[in-house]
Symmetry: C2
Subunit: 140 residues, 2 copies
DNA sequence: ATCCATTTTTAGAACTATTCCATTTTTATT
DNA sequence: AATAAAAATGGAATAGTTCTAAAAATGGAT
């Protein structure tokens, strides 16, 4: 009866990933939290409900998911990698003031013309500036 | 008589940065090595000629240069930050096979329409795939 | 030149994100 | 139930970066 878990399981299996408890938990977390969390945030939030969970498992799972193209890794922040289960074309904006990372929808992602011989598998566009809330705060 | 050093010094002073020996060296390195080096590469290469150089100074300098908008930090690689003194609009391509980071010229950098209230200061586009050499190698 | 305040550099410790490793647990198969 | 393979675990190890406190360099004012 748990629709979400069924979708999660299907998405993993579709990419040849065995849906273990831990992998399901990480994937479900990413699909239900569109906050571009770090590995540590995922671990911290899942730990209470899976007390045997290890950080290594979270990292292993995330690496596997990225490898198989189920989630994407976002390197918009030097410090830590962030993860996003939404594979629709969109770009990311980071607010320099509050640190929020915001999805920005685009019709189609821009991929500039490449020099001869180069083949592009994926591309990411990162924008950095101030978000609406922080801009408002500054004026007042 | 050293033209390069004059240009380096001018570029630092233009941004209110006192041109110390170390800062000059880091900036000159970035301007003459268009390889998007890491902090460690810069340190390792400069160390022989400045034997008192400390890694902290390299990091301090790079952070200062980025803050003042003299160089840009490239986070195309999770592991370490890379630096680029070229501020002309261009994007970066990383070869998944050999790790090379290549400049790709663009007429103008794409900045998608942002939701209301957001102001964008800068944007970066990263492409990942296989470079010409690696593609050639794979066919043969 | 000398003194003083300020800025910059330095070395190494500290911190943090991530990976590695050896062991244990779980899962699937016979 | 026995066995083999895959996954998870905890903790140690690694690596990039920052922090800290002290030393060195710089730039006036005297």
């Amino acid at each position: 009866m748990d629709k979400v878990k069924d979708i999660v399981k299907e998405r993993l299996q579709l990419h040849g990933i065995k849906p273990s408890l831990q992998r399901m938990a990480v994937m479900e977390y990413l699909m239900t939290h569109r906050t571009h969390p770090t590995a540590d945030m995922i671990y911290t939030d899942l730990y209470p409900s899976i007390p045997t969970l290890s950080k290594a498992t979270v990292y292993n799972t995330l690496n596997l998911l990225v490898e198989r193209g189920v989630v994407r890794m976002i390197t918009i922040e030097e410090k830590n990698a962030r993860f996003d289960a939404c594979m629709e074309p969109h770009i990311h904006f980071r607010c320099r003031d509050c640190g929020a990372i915001i999805d920005v929808d685009v019709e189609a992602h821009w991929i500039p013309a490449m020099p001869d011989g180069i083949t592009v598998e994926m591309s990411e566009t990162y924008c950095i500036g101030s978000c609406a809330e922080c801009n408002k705060r500054k004026v007042s």
